[in-house]
Symmetry: C2
Subunit: 208 residues, 2 copies
DNA sequence: ACAGGTACATACTAGTTGGTATGATGAGAG
DNA sequence: CTCTCATCATACCAACTAGTATGTACCTGT
């Protein structure tokens, strides 16, 4: 699978195998032996690179999952002009999860719901990823307000928090029900909510 | 803890102990021995009442968790007049989760995210609870539309799906961040969204 | 009183868990 | 060429896992 003496490749193989096993079974139920088998390395190699299971989990969260969140949810927002358009696009991309992803849900949310209340190290890392995610959305919304793409009377921070919650919830509910229609229904109302964040035309007055 | 020969009390003790352990550690990581110790019964008693760990988990879901969802989220909707008012109230009640609940999140969502993709029996039961929950909200919204409390041009089913997702997501995000402020922010925007479901006054025209 | 089934209690097991102790092998420095 | 350290490989272990085998006490119908 990898060259005989390539510590970085070994580490990467371990990380991806661990990420896969954790995604499949959860952290606590992920078996070190299964990870070893899946990565094709031995126990000595694993415990040379990681002190224990917890550290391996931290590394998966920091280096694999956080990166995935960043690529899928944060990066598209950084250079967008209209944040609401960007959010629509991001949401549609998320909707193209295959059945596998529908079954297993969001790697971050899985780990968060399992470990946030159990282990402080996980909790801090998860909170860091979530708060960065929220902050990026809030920033994009602020820029959108400045550019006239977002209603200026709304609080970007509250919106960003609700958006992250709604996204996690929508994916989680689709996983709970194991049906794509649930996600589609949630998404359609989600989109309607997103549209409500746009500024209203000048000739129309609106309450609240 | 309970009378010597009271099978129903023994079963209940097992169920509540199991629910507690599952809530604390997750299903797969919950130890049968810990449940036994917590319930104050022996292994023989447990395996007399439940065939195996999975069956015990099913019973916890069916009899403890589903009941909790029903009491907290479904029942208040059944006899309400204005469903949006009712949803506001329900949400505020949920906000009064103590720190313990904030740390451990929603029992249903915890189990759902852990087990829905792993075990079909859990998945079916979880889906049943969720779909009933959604159906009750959708029903309340329809009655609200008939009574003029809810905008008639919206789809109650999509709204109910999104609402369940947003609730689960909000609680889950608060658990991820372990801070009440996150839930409050999410809730404030949630409430704003709820208000947008009310019919608009007749003298104002609105796009979309 | 007695039979029989319900409702447990105790002791045990086979398998798995994360983790370790020790040894081997390779690559780079001097 | 050799010394040394990073990088592994193998064998092992104590603790824990869900589950079982077996025995017993109690309650109920007859």
């Amino acid at each position: 699978m990898c060259a005989k003496r390539d510590p970085q490749a070994t580490r990467t193989a371990l990380l991806t195998a661990a990420a896969g096993e954790i995604y499949e079974s959860g952290f606590q139920s992920a078996s070190m032996d299964d990870i070893l088998r899946s990565a094709g390395v031995t126990k000595g190699a694993l415990y040379h690179h990681f002190a224990n299971k917890r550290d391996l989990g931290y590394a998966v969260l920091d280096e694999v999952i956080a990166q995935g969140v960043y690529d899928a949810w944060v990066k598209p927002l950084r250079e967008c002009v209209d944040p609401i358009d960007a959010l629509h696009t991001i949401l549609s991309n998320a909707a193209e999860m295959g059945h596998l992803e529908l079954r297993r849900g969001c790697p971050l949310n899985n780990l968060a719901q399992e470990m946030a209340g159990v282990d402080e190290g996980f909790q801090e890392r998860i909170a860091a990823v979530c708060s960065r995610w929220q902050a990026e959305i809030a920033g994009a919304l602020e820029r959108g307000q400045a550019g006239g793409y977002v209603r200026p009377d709304l609080d970007p921070v509250s919106i960003s928090t609700f958006l992250v919650a709604a996204v996690q919830g929508s994916i989680g509910l689709a996983k709970s029900c194991q049906c794509p229609e649930t996600f589609e229904r949630s998404k359609s109302e989600f989109c309607r909510y997103l549209e409500s964040l746009r500024p209203v035309p000048a000739n129309v007055s609106v309450a609240n």
